[in-house]
Each structure stands twice: as C-alpha cells, then as structure tokens.
Symmetry: C2
Subunit: 578 residues, 2 copies
Amino acid sequence: MRKVTNKGRQTKQGSADSGVSLRLALAQVNGLVGGFKTNAEKVKSACAQARKVGADIVLFPELIVTGYPPEDLLFKKSFIKNCRETLKKIAPYTRGLTAVIGFAEQKGKHLYNSAALMCNGKHIGTYRKTLLPNYGVFDEKRYFTEGDEPVRFFLKGAQIGLTICEDIWGESGPGKTLSKDVDFILNISSSPYHKGKGKARRQMIIKRARSYKCPIAYVNLVGGQDELVFDGQSLVVDAKGKIITQGNSFEEEIIFAEVALSPKNRKPVARGIRSYRAPATLSKANIKKVPQLPAGVYRKKSEEEEVYSALVLGTRDYIHKNGFSKVVIGLSGGIDSSLTAAIAVDALWSHNVIGVLMPSPYSSKGSIDDALALAKNLDIKTFTFPIESAMKSYDSILKDAFKGTMPNLAEENLQARIRGNLLMALSNKFGWMVLTTGNKSEISMGYCTLYGDMAGGFAVIKDVPKVLVYELCHWLNREREIIPKNVLTKEPSAELRPDQKDTDSLPPYELLDPVLLRYIEQDLSIEEIKVAGLSKSEIKRIARLVDLNEYKRRQGPPGVKITPKAFGKDRRLPITRS
Amino acid sequence: MRKVTNKGRQTKQGSADSGVSLRLALAQVNGLVGGFKTNAEKVKSACAQARKVGADIVLFPELIVTGYPPEDLLFKKSFIKNCRETLKKIAPYTRGLTAVIGFAEQKGKHLYNSAALMCNGKHIGTYRKTLLPNYGVFDEKRYFTEGDEPVRFFLKGAQIGLTICEDIWGESGPGKTLSKDVDFILNISSSPYHKGKGKARRQMIIKRARSYKCPIAYVNLVGGQDELVFDGQSLVVDAKGKIITQGNSFEEEIIFAEVALSPKNRKPVARGIRSYRAPATLSKANIKKVPQLPAGVYRKKSEEEEVYSALVLGTRDYIHKNGFSKVVIGLSGGIDSSLTAAIAVDALWSHNVIGVLMPSPYSSKGSIDDALALAKNLDIKTFTFPIESAMKSYDSILKDAFKGTMPNLAEENLQARIRGNLLMALSNKFGWMVLTTGNKSEISMGYCTLYGDMAGGFAVIKDVPKVLVYELCHWLNREREIIPKNVLTKEPSAELRPDQKDTDSLPPYELLDPVLLRYIEQDLSIEEIKVAGLSKSEIKRIARLVDLNEYKRRQGPPGVKITPKAFGKDRRLPITRS
C-alpha cells in the first residue's frame, strides 16, 4: 500500500473581533450501516478528542447513529429501537461539550431524519431535516417525513442554527430562513462523492456563507457503502466565505477550527424558530482551559488522485465491511484488470490480492507477459490456469446441439464463463472475494459477458469510463512503472477469437466516451448528441446498445460511483421497453 | 397452452331512476413502456369499440400513453416530447366520445402524472394526480410534482370527478374532496398485482363508493413490466357499493357498463374545483343510437389460478416485449423447474419451450425419469447433456490450487455453474431466453448458486414461496397429471453431492416459509417471530442467512412479483451492514 502523506493544511483561525469565539471539532468519521455499536464508539472517541482540545461544539455526520443510507432497514421496528437506545447510550459521551449527532427519529407514525442537540451529556433538543432529497441515489421521501420547524440554540451568547445536508443546497430553504436570525449555521451531511463533487460542494458552501452573512461549519461522512463512497472534505468557512479549515478527502479524521462570530441580535426574536439554550455551566467549563489547537494537514489532490482515492476507499470498505480480507482478480494483461489490481493492492496490501491468469489458445504471448509483469510490479501472487481443456469439454458436450452452426458469441462467452467459474471456485474454496474488472464504457455497451467477466462480488471500476481508465494508469505511473508500459500502449482486445480488437465492435473510446457521457449522464436524445467523427447512425447504434444491455447491468455486482450518474440506483431504467 | 374460457360474468345494468344514465367503456389494455405507437393504437381501437356501442365515456389506465412505470425514461426530454406528440395524435381518435387518458405532462420545470380529458376529438382539460405513491415499488415523487386542484367535468347534466390511482386509496384525499360535489368518480389506475390485491382493491372501491355516496368507475392496466404484473380487474360500482360490472384478471379487454346517476347539485358550486364542460353536440350525438351493450363474461378465479395467471402473463410479456419467442429451462426433475416449465408452456406454447437435462454422477435415475415424464406431459423438446466431463476438466485445472483441501461448496457450485454455462451457450447460439427456476424460499436463504442455477433472463417463480409452489402444482394437476406425481411426493434435493437433501441445510419448508413471511414481508424482528417447531436460535439463523444473501439476490434476474413484498425494487436493503 502506498501511503499518502498529508502536508500543508492551511488552518486559518478566524480573527477574534468584538464578538464571540467558538472552538469546533468536526468528526468526519467512517460509519457503518446498522453498526450501532461501532458508530457509538466513533462518537465516544471523537468526543474525547474534542474535549481534550477544549472544543465547544463537536459535529457528527447525518444519520451517523444508523449509518448512511440505511435504506429499508428503517422499516424494521427493531432497527429504530436500536437507534433510539444507542442515542441514549451516546448522550453521556458528550459531557462538557455541545454535540450535534444525526439519527433516525420515530415520533408516532412519522420517521424523521434528525439531528440530536446534546449538551453536557444530555439530549436537550432535536432538529428534523426539512428538505428530503428524492432524486439520483436518494430515496429519502420513501422513509422520512419532512420537518417543519427551524431550530437554533444559544451558546456563549451566540445564536447557532442547525441544518442537515440538503437544507442548505438550495438558494432558499431552511438555511436561508435561519440565517436571518442566527450568527452561525451548522450543517451535518452524508453527501456521496462523484468526480468534482468536493469542489462543487465547497463553492456552494462559500456562496451560502456570503448570502447568509454568517460562518458555516459543514461535516461530511467518510467511507464506502455499497455503490456509494463518501468523501469527507468537511469545511468551515467564515461569513465572507473564506475557508477557515477543511478536512481531507477519503480520510477519517477530526478537524478543528476556531470561529469568530459577530452576533446579529443580542436580543433574539422568536419568529417561529424553536430555540434551545446550552446550560451556562457548560460555557464556563470550556472557557477555563484553552490548549493549542492541533494543526491539521490538508493536502489538495489532483482530479486523478481524488478519483483513485475514491476507488481505493470504496473497494477497501466494501471488502472489509462485508467481512472479507482477500480478493482474487482475473489478470488478462489488459488495462482494466491492471488498474483494478493496482487499486486492490492500495486498498488491501499486496499479500491480500491474488491474480489469476487464464490463457486460452487465443491469448497472445504478450498478454501473459504483461499480466506477469503487472503482478511483479504489484508484488502479488498469481495462479495460471490454461482453460483449453475446459473449452474442449464444453465443445464436446454441445457438439450435437450445435451441429451445423458457425462459431459465434456462444463459444466466445463460454471462455469468459469458464474464467468466471474458476475465479468463483477459488472464492468458494478460500473465501476470497472476486473483483470484476469491467469499465463503464464496456458495461454501457454490453461489451462484457454475464456470468463471465461480470461474475464477482465488487466491480471496482464499473463507473470509470475507458478514457479515464487510461488517465488513472498514467497518473499511477507518475513516479515509477506500476502498470507495464506495454499495457498502456497496445490496442485493447478481449482476445476471445483470433486477432480480435475492441474496435471491431466499438468505436474508438475517445469518440465513444463523449457519446456515453451525453446519453447516460446527461440524458440527451440521439438528436441532441453531436460528436465529431461519429455519424448520426453510429450514435444511434451506441444509444441502442446502451438500452439493450440494461438487463446485463441489472445482474452485475455493485461498484464505486465516481460520476454524476452511475449505473445502479442512480439510474433506474426499465429493462422492458419499446 | 391451456386456454382459459370466460363464462358467467354478471353485468348488472344500473337502474335508470329520475337521474342521468351514462354508458361507459373501460379499456383495460396491455401497454408497453415507451411504446408510444403501440399504446396509441390500443387507444384508437378501444375508442372505435366504445363508439360502436354508443358509450359516453371511455377510460384508459394511468400513464397509458407512456406505459407504466416509465421510471427514469421520464428524465429524457425526447421521451416527454414523444408523449406530448402521441397525445396530440390520439385526440382525434376520441371523436364522438369523452375519453380520460393517462399521460406524463411537462409544465415548465414540473412533470405531472396527468389525465387528459378529451371530448369529441379535442383535449379540453387536464387533471394532475395529487397523491403520489413513494413506497413499495413506487418512486413517483422521484419524477412528479403533486397536482393541487380537483377537476370535474359536466356531461349530460351530471358532474363527474377525475382521480388517478392513489387519489382514492386513502379515506380522505382528493376523491373525498370531490365527492362532496360530483355525482360520479372516475379513477384511472396502473395498480400492480400481488396475491389478494384484486380483493383488497375491490373492497376499497366499494367502501369508497359508500363513503363518497356516488358510483365509481375504476380502470386498471393489464400486463407484465419487468418485475411487475398488472392484473386489470377493472370495476364499476354504484353508490351503494354494488358491483355493476368487473373486468377479468390478467386479460386485456374492454368492459362496458350503464351507470345511473342521481345528480346531487343541479346548480353546481365552484369550491375551488376546476371544471370543464363537454360540448352539447357530443351528448346529442350519443343519445340517438342506443345499441345493446355487449354482455361481458366475468370468471372468478381461485387464489391458485389467480397467482398462476399472474406468473403466466408476467412471463409471457417479459419474453415477448423483450423480443424473444423461445425459452430454455434446465430440468432437474425437481418441483421448481417442473412448475417453471409448465408456466412457460402456458405462456408460450410447447414448441417454444426447450428443456435441458444435465445429469451429474450425483443425479438419481429418478430425477432423470421425472424430468423426462414432465417433458412428455408438457410436450416439450429436450436435450440431455451429461456434465461429468466438464466437472473433471475443472477438477484437473484446479488440482494444484485445491491440493490438500476437502471438497466443499466450491465443487458443488461448479456443477451448478457448468449447467448455467450450458444453458447460456444455447441461449447465445439460438437466441432462446434462459428461465431460472429458483423459488422465493431458497432465494431468501441463498440456497442457490450465483452464475449457476441463478443464471438466466427471467426468474419465473422467484417470488413464490416453496409451500405455494406445491399448492400451485397440485392445482395444476386438478384435471390430469401435468407435474409427475413423483415430483410432488419425493423429498427436495439439489443433488450436488451424494444423498443431499434440502433439509440438510434448511428447516422443513412448512416451518421456513412462515418465518420468511414474517421477516421479509412484514419486517418483524427476530424477537417478534414465533413459529411452532422452531427455536429462537433457528429463527435467528434464518434471519441471518436472509441478510447475508442480499448480495446474491442483487445479481439475480427479475421475476414476477406476486407477494406484498418481493425482492427487487420493493425491498431496498443494503448489502453492506453490520
């Protein structure tokens, strides 16, 4: 595993003017869905750290008690009961602090996505999320009732407003309403990643702070959960939108900030806002000791590094949280399996990754050499299973049934399925999870074999378009060769028949990817898509293949979402359609 | 295919008192998602039939123009444009009639689930669905904005209110609001089936008619759409809840009714209801000719027949609407593959169903005989592929890697996967869709092999618990033997190792199924589940296996939903969880 070192975080401390200064801890922790005990431990430990540095307030992500997103587990009474009991258990951990903790709150027939306001070991108030996202990967209206009351609390003479994720994404909404009265807005989020999301989120928060005319502290979840990965990148900005501190992407950490507030109303007006007051004892307790704030280290990542980190964390968490430690990957000598193996090594260490070469008579010598070179670069163990004997045995079983037919997809797919079976046999025998290696471009086009190369537990790069696969590999090789040079330069081929090339079936990837982006991620129609070098009929054929192959994707394993629209719950298309 | 004959429908004509009498046609048609042309043709043909019998009003299902549910196709501008243009094309078909036609309506940034009111060839008004279901299989809040205005229209002096599906499911709501003013409520629906849904729906409509104090005409979609099947069972009831006429389940047909209305308000009050008026010319045109109404034939089905019909239609539509005509099924001689094959034959005729026997050294002579007897009873063609040579070839490829290990699941799963590969080879070679044969009980427990017996395009009985599988087979055999007697009486076995029985791994199905019902369909916790004959720890083990095997189900093909909660979009559980 290549360790990423953190250096150079800019932690600007807000200048203390005539107003109040508050010390914050933002716990961007890695939660586990249904992991009440684990999640409570994370809260306990973060509270202890916050106390140690004399923090006034500690923030935890949205629904941290249940993990996010809990999906239909929310329909189980026992799950909600578990959440309620865990919250009670958590309360004393907040001794000496004010804490904001996301949980699922049952009230009569209604379930709310709520934030518990805890002060000095007591749950003193609750805010219920008002804006419930029900688009993209979100189904919050399936579970929750909308809250209808803004909430603020008073601490050290300052008025502080509570919001949850979506509440501040719109220009208007609960954040805006609150900002007329409060001096500071807190937001607890579980906001999933896609390429560029960190930047978009940062810009949004800066814009809001300026329009609210008050500082914002934003905490976000970290970690992989099925097809989602949460990137952290928590943030504190001042009223002018200047960044006071920010959390790293894809790392579990607690970040600290000193925030200067300029209270707007010394005599607060009610205006239909539910108000709570932190006990005076609490404020006094914290004023006594003012230790130095630990200096955080923020390291800016390039776009490639950001995506790569998302894939590594998403993969590691899927493997570990599902109780696996080792993975097995079919190595074809191609670029997709090479990148997948590199990610797996960074997620799990070399000794937990096993590569399998499964040459057929159509495999080139080069492919085998390239796969072995990769395994050497990554320092992973390999098996080599030639598959010709299995191919022959199927041929002989099917001989009569296939009499008089020409070799076609049936024979090609059998090779891929023999390989899938061998990997699954290793999985079943030794408890290794199979990682599949398909990229978004080929999965879009159905250029992959169901139960063959699609067979496995996790599809690491299923949301990475082929052109980006190349970019990530070049980035990986920036210091030394990890992906063998020949893998990067040779023409892509599935090697399922003699002299096969991807371009026999597909347009070149640098033309294909822009079409897929427009058709899949942007929902443009064939008429609206224009890509130089491709005719209208070629674009039509691409769109048709995307549509026709929905049935295949439906049976593929989950993988990390890294684009604005991934296959999975982000894109719900019927299989049956005209 | 065994043809079901219709006989004995009771079409009671509403008695014409001092009020108005209206003649209705309810077109319970089989739509196609995205099939704008096909759907428009269905509207055209139904309008022609309605005109022929002098109907005043013809009703079509919810979103019939787009097909239901269109899911994320609604995000495509071109799809909405197609819908708008189709609606325009449809308008002239309604000449001489008043028609209510479901469509997706874009208005500025908002999309509505709407009903077009067309009179004599013109689109004169629109009602927008107010209550949008966002639970179970429904995601309507993902797409649509809620309408906020009740709509009525005047025809022959009567006031008629429009509602869409969910609008009348609640005690209060838009239906109730309208009923204070109108004399008649129309409801257009696309309401998916599960066992007992027809009865529940009928009871609900009768209850509503009594509480609204006016007749209700309810039209419902027919047909399979991915994992859903729509059952029709359209209904007209009078103000006392007496059934005037009803449509058959799972059959595309137009049903007719004469409904006597007792107008409540001759001088209608506005009360914030948007009102339209059918042109006077229209009423006159219809009064002239009063031909005899065609006598419909309604046939009540037993519960087994109802479920069986759902499976047949769901399967037929999935195959045909996806462009297939033939299917291939692995026949093990067990009850699941026998039932699946029988359903396929009823859906597609014998000559479109191919059975494949794939005996291993662990297959009993009895299993082969039973499979052949079934094929004979169903008059289907079979292939026989002994798989031992393929098993040996995998053993030899894996020999070194598996050295020193004991045979386990790995070797068992290989057998299932060899069979999956052979079926898929036939599929790829000849264009036949593979039907999988797993039932709900074993899919719940993960007692099935991913990429093995789970490999295929459609999982016909995936939502049928094992006990119900037996009940359906007994029902099938009511007149003559279709499922061989030995299949019904022998003990279930996967035959993947010598002398294996299902009960080696699972509790008896008559104990297992009630636990699964409570845990999966009712979301009860382990503490709440009590089933005589099973200890708390056995129940715990069942629940744990259900949870652990979510990853397998996620990669299985779709199949017909016939229970209140099916695996699929009805039940959205995380794979990764504590």
